[in-house]
Symmetry: D4
Subunit: 224 residues, 8 copies
Amino acid sequence: DFARLDHHRGLRTGQSEVIFCQGKQPEHIIKILRHLGDKELNVLATRLDIPTAEIVLPHFPDALYDRQARCLLLRPLAEPTVPGKILIMTAGTADLAVAQEALLTARFMGHEVDTLFDVGVAGIHRLLEQKELMDRAEVIIVVAGMEGALASVVGGLVEQPVIAVPTSVGYGAHFQGLAPLLSMLNSCASGVGVVNIDNGFGAASLASAIVRRIMRAGKKGDLT
Amino acid sequence: DFARLDHHRGLRTGQSEVIFCQGKQPEHIIKILRHLGDKELNVLATRLDIPTAEIVLPHFPDALYDRQARCLLLRPLAEPTVPGKILIMTAGTADLAVAQEALLTARFMGHEVDTLFDVGVAGIHRLLEQKELMDRAEVIIVVAGMEGALASVVGGLVEQPVIAVPTSVGYGAHFQGLAPLLSMLNSCASGVGVVNIDNGFGAASLASAIVRRIMRAGKKGDLT
Amino acid sequence: DFARLDHHRGLRTGQSEVIFCQGKQPEHIIKILRHLGDKELNVLATRLDIPTAEIVLPHFPDALYDRQARCLLLRPLAEPTVPGKILIMTAGTADLAVAQEALLTARFMGHEVDTLFDVGVAGIHRLLEQKELMDRAEVIIVVAGMEGALASVVGGLVEQPVIAVPTSVGYGAHFQGLAPLLSMLNSCASGVGVVNIDNGFGAASLASAIVRRIMRAGKKGDLT
Amino acid sequence: DFARLDHHRGLRTGQSEVIFCQGKQPEHIIKILRHLGDKELNVLATRLDIPTAEIVLPHFPDALYDRQARCLLLRPLAEPTVPGKILIMTAGTADLAVAQEALLTARFMGHEVDTLFDVGVAGIHRLLEQKELMDRAEVIIVVAGMEGALASVVGGLVEQPVIAVPTSVGYGAHFQGLAPLLSMLNSCASGVGVVNIDNGFGAASLASAIVRRIMRAGKKGDLT
Amino acid sequence: DFARLDHHRGLRTGQSEVIFCQGKQPEHIIKILRHLGDKELNVLATRLDIPTAEIVLPHFPDALYDRQARCLLLRPLAEPTVPGKILIMTAGTADLAVAQEALLTARFMGHEVDTLFDVGVAGIHRLLEQKELMDRAEVIIVVAGMEGALASVVGGLVEQPVIAVPTSVGYGAHFQGLAPLLSMLNSCASGVGVVNIDNGFGAASLASAIVRRIMRAGKKGDLT
Amino acid sequence: DFARLDHHRGLRTGQSEVIFCQGKQPEHIIKILRHLGDKELNVLATRLDIPTAEIVLPHFPDALYDRQARCLLLRPLAEPTVPGKILIMTAGTADLAVAQEALLTARFMGHEVDTLFDVGVAGIHRLLEQKELMDRAEVIIVVAGMEGALASVVGGLVEQPVIAVPTSVGYGAHFQGLAPLLSMLNSCASGVGVVNIDNGFGAASLASAIVRRIMRAGKKGDLT
Amino acid sequence: DFARLDHHRGLRTGQSEVIFCQGKQPEHIIKILRHLGDKELNVLATRLDIPTAEIVLPHFPDALYDRQARCLLLRPLAEPTVPGKILIMTAGTADLAVAQEALLTARFMGHEVDTLFDVGVAGIHRLLEQKELMDRAEVIIVVAGMEGALASVVGGLVEQPVIAVPTSVGYGAHFQGLAPLLSMLNSCASGVGVVNIDNGFGAASLASAIVRRIMRAGKKGDLT
Amino acid sequence: DFARLDHHRGLRTGQSEVIFCQGKQPEHIIKILRHLGDKELNVLATRLDIPTAEIVLPHFPDALYDRQARCLLLRPLAEPTVPGKILIMTAGTADLAVAQEALLTARFMGHEVDTLFDVGVAGIHRLLEQKELMDRAEVIIVVAGMEGALASVVGGLVEQPVIAVPTSVGYGAHFQGLAPLLSMLNSCASGVGVVNIDNGFGAASLASAIVRRIMRAGKKGDLT
Ligand SMILES: Nc1ncnc2c1ncn2[C@@H]1O[C@H](COP(=O)(O)O)[C@@H](O)[C@H]1O
Ligand SMILES: Nc1ncnc2c1ncn2[C@@H]1O[C@H](COP(=O)(O)O)[C@@H](O)[C@H]1O
Ligand SMILES: Nc1ncnc2c1ncn2[C@@H]1O[C@H](COP(=O)(O)O)[C@@H](O)[C@H]1O
Ligand SMILES: Nc1ncnc2c1ncn2[C@@H]1O[C@H](COP(=O)(O)O)[C@@H](O)[C@H]1O
Ligand SMILES: [Mg+2]
Ligand SMILES: [Mg+2]
Ligand SMILES: [Mg+2]
Ligand SMILES: [Mg+2]
Ligand SMILES: [Mg+2]
Ligand SMILES: [Mg+2]
Ligand SMILES: [Mg+2]
Ligand SMILES: [Mg+2]
């Protein structure tokens, strides 16, 4: 009775079941995982911190836990089922945890993912060399802390939709991610949509919604 | 020499020329419009306030100016050339100016647009009745001021990508759009990308990038 | 001498004794509980964190401590004495701690409480199905983190007074509850009063003041 | 098509039609007023600034406009139909505009209103002398700018529900109403609900919802 | 060489030596205390947290440490040498730590101190009963968290200078003391000076400067 | 009935009648001035902007209006009646408006005032040369915009109480006075009390309370 | 007496006389200009808005006023006297006003200036093409609004010191320059110093201090 | 593949390799240090907290770790190779950690460093006595927490470029360094560039860029 599972949502919004664990008690998480797991579905649990994971994991011997992304998967990831690549880029090595949450979410939702890490704008040639990889993606997710300038530079280079994820990587006047959040919202490049600070999951969900729409069009071979 | 026009950007990012007029002197705007207009391109000028428009307009007898959207078009809008509908929704009547900027931008970029105005969540049945219209769109732009809850409700109802535009419509603890901005960034619905407060232009640009990608897939009839 | 107990306040404001424990030393809490408990009154202690509770509890063998709500009751709760239901709703499972503080406070003040948990707006049909339960309440308390949109949706569905409690459940641009706080203050639904972030106690106190006023009118059978 | 009037809301939430004019074009306001006025309903328009009012008024010869409250009424106020007094208090003379919006809203919704103006806490005896007037009200609305301390003092004196309205009256570190908003949200008196800065309308709407609930109980003469 | 002691400051500003320990390494604190203690002066060390105090204390067998105030005194307090009382008031029991820092500082600077704790405005009669005690003071320090309304109420009751100290006691929209800070800066009572959040030391220093000035006038028996 | 004049306040708090005009309608100001002026009292009206002053002034032929300070005096200032100088210093020429409000308030309250303008810390020798003038004052008011460093430098030079007034003089990251406000609250000099941004009135009121206390001691020739 | 001119500052800090006009009365500005102009010095007046300039200009027939930069020069600019180029870059055309203030200041201080306008990162090839021009400068000033990413990209390309000036060009979540300010402070490129929002003057002053130091070394031909 | 080392950056920007360790996993830091160390370069690792350092250090027996600065050096510091002194000043003893990060960075980059610690403005004579030491420096770094006034005072005394580093030393309305950050950005002294809160590394990088430029000029003995 504490959790009202939404069995229609999958149908309605085309998304699988994902549990947001922050603020939930371990026993609640276990019950929800049990309930959902019964239906032969894979389940993704995000924002599951390490101490809670250590309580939850013993109840699910097949589950996998990614310590960097703080994500649990009830069963191993299946092969990608949706054509159309999602490219995940990061500005620095310290943004990897958020990128990894996005990666697991995208893979969990059935997508192929390419990655390009540590290509911050302070060494812009590292970025420009990778134009080809960018061209192969349907959607690009840019994960960046510090000043978040990577989103603008990438947005100005490509024609694909860009999803920008500010991260809390930084200190001082970074204000836990406010600096790149504002930066990305004010990007001088158009065609950039922003999600919450550190929200790798949300970026991948939006990327998934876009790629599924593209795939659907590809299947029909016609839009009207 | 005060403005370095980027003739490659169209090719690179797939977007037409748009001039951001805020902070530019009237004579600068006139020169840029002249320069770009010479190439038989249509040009969109956004954030052109009424007093400046009154100085600029006499120089371009064919131009159209939309006072609500504060946008100028050098030539009349052509018929949509890109299949795939963009739906623009607003929570209230006061959000129309921003919605209109989005609409003109989307039409300028060649898209078909549907609109659904004044469907705020305080009368949620007005919204639920319109599910069919939502289903017809490839991408949905939600324009909302006040608390911006419309983005979450729409995001939970549909499987398409949702682009949320917070507006500065409100007062007091609204802080000129901060309330719906934070609300949208924290949306409990996934698959929502956010653009800057009052940025109808940016929302339409992102929608355009998505729809063009979809159309390209539709044309090829296959994704891989 | 460090605490000046206000024995008139109960009479003046119609409320029982509640101790706010945050920032108080354990020995102070014990002394106040002893002093108040002597008068055969039940006492509620809120914001009593678990380490402090472990120091305080051994001194009061009849006391009950709710770890989720971080509340202590000196004696078991009595049966409700005030007719008129208070409905407590939450958007997510993670809002339960705050809802539980509200529930204990309302029960402590003599009220009947109904609950409806985990009915966030991302799956709005779960909410609309529960209209009947809402109709049975005199006052509705809506507890929500994330973007706090539930308050607006409920406020637009019912004619009862709605008390909105933003919670600190969220991350990033949530700013520890600022996002739903601003959202609720800007609700497009009228008839919504807001209390402090995570203030389940305050919401229940206001609900109690309203229900007691209603009950008083019900007893008199006439208002003028 | 720019405005979707919600004819069910009256039934659903027990509230009459009120138009929020900020950000709406004069012609839109006129059309909505015409449409609603046709049904023999009185209509209240709030946040109608003076220049817009001067365009709107000539179209409605029976309408009344209150310059201080910036409110328009399509027809004169009827006699109160709902028993149960609402008391509106202000801390200073400069808070009168907001108080007047609350007063007109409450009267428009059929309520009796008492007022007590300029009783700020810097001269607390002015306040304590008025305890009897407070006792006669079912609900008390406290309108205060500066530091907003009046809400705490009143909340500590009475047992009725208190609705606190922070106002933008102040300067400097007042931040356009942020100071009393935070002050009221953190009130050490319980039983206080807060609405948006300068939101006299919202305070009266909540007061109305409470008083109507009380009246309904009074009519039935019994609550269970 | 890491600390440049200011032996002239005592002469110049009339204040004794006080060490601010936050952010200083234990060995630095020990060296400074040693250096200053050599000159037969008493020394006050503030913001000395408990773990650091446990390293520092064994080196100074005569020193006293107050865990609540987090203050160390190198030698016991002497009897007050300056006539003229400073009254320290708190709104709640949880404000005692800050009040205690003020009390020790004032006593260290040679003043007589009266105290009046837990007289918050939610029970205003507790405050009004104490007018006589207030009248006996030369300066009043008001320490208050939550909404900080006590400063305004006291400021409106007395003619003495009032020094207001906002505390970090509160939660949610309290923002670690921002709420009472803004409240006190916007006090509708004039004659109130504000110091930093939790700055009991600063309040006592200012009170001391005022009382010493008064005493000096008292000694001369004439001002010109 | 819109204004409840507080005839006891003078007695209670030792302060004359001052009207805060911001947000008050001209006719209200005129009525209050009339009412108070009848009692042969001088009256000070602060925050009276120029357009409102032009409506008010013709009704009071003896009144004086200071455009820089935006203050009105009903009658000319009397000679100082309270011995003990208040020194008002400003960092820059642009802070003069606030300093002038403080000066008029202090003179209105019967005090002697010295002034020292434009002695910002960027040319610190200009400040150090004036030590003697500082020594002659009982209390020093420091008015400073920009980064507000003057308060710290003065506070470190003198033993008198210092009252710091941040001003809104600045731009950009000054945030209308937030920069010097925070600077002054965090002053490394002790013995500094802060009032609201641009609050020359409040600074003078506090200075007056201090000087009156000093004078009272001087008269009695003894403190105990 | 309202302005204390600092005749030593030029000697002490190597800088000429500059008047900051914001908040100063026209008559004050005129007096200061007169006083300084008498000494055969050129004078620069910044932040002189157009209406004030129209009052001031007629008194100084040789003075020049730049409407875009809002700067006045008492006499025409002399030829550069200090070798070593300062390069001023802007991200967009709308940043020109701030760049122009920097340019006039640098020229006034005797420097040679190169400019490179409208090279925002959304079209990064426009920027990379200009590496040679950057290489010719001793110091680079980067003026950028929107998200301010240009500072990071330039800082990563060059070895010279970079001075970043955030501008208030933008809207919504730009918060009048806060977005590029935070962005620049968090730049992932090192070697970047930041000045206040829109502070073209400050950037040029710092650049001047650097170039003068370089020139001095160049003259001596040796550093030790 | 998680880290893309930028071997051109040294050439391009004239700076050695520095690793920013915050948010990086220990194994990543070890791999990067190994990779870079192989090339016989010294490497500086900043923001390496003590627990992580304890994992990393055993792998590099020649490395040195400074606990106060939280910096690791792979090999001992070489003798300074660049003439031209950098002076590092602090306002208080608690600012030493940040000053030490700046010192190590400057020394790592080959510079000579002078230091002047604990010369806050509350005892301004301690500062003025040190003018000669200041005169010997090419660039001055001012590290200050609390209200950060030291930057303004130093900036007004010297003609060299001043780099201001706000620190998080303070509490309450300090907001973790916001107070001195705003203070320094609004400095009334010109010629001051600001870096991020606690960014000793950034300050030293900018100082290094300036001094290298000066040295280069000194070598050439001519600037044009
Ligand atoms: N309303 C708008 N809001 C944000 N960005 C805009 C807007 N209109 C145009 N832009 C962007 O600004 C660029 C033109 O900037 P500019 O060269 O300064 O005119 C366009 O290519 C868009 O990317
Ligand atoms: N969780 C809470 N949040 C806010 N206020 C509370 C809370 N619990 C109790 N209070 C208030 O604090 C008062 C008691 O404060 P104290 O005398 O310090 O224990 C109660 O009468 C309530 O008005
Ligand atoms: N400039 C000012 N800033 C802040 N408070 C003021 C100011 N001028 C007057 N006041 C206060 O406001 C009170 C009068 O308020 P009112 O009764 O609304 O006119 C005075 O007694 C002062 O305490
Ligand atoms: N303490 C610091 N604060 C800010 N930036 C730093 C710091 N230390 C190093 N950096 C920058 O971060 C870069 C290295 O980042 P990374 O490749 O993630 O290790 C360096 O080249 C510097 O530009
Ligand atoms: Mg793009
Ligand atoms: Mg969705
Ligand atoms: Mg309702
Ligand atoms: Mg109450
Ligand atoms: Mg007083
Ligand atoms: Mg002092
Ligand atoms: Mg560089
Ligand atoms: Mg200087």
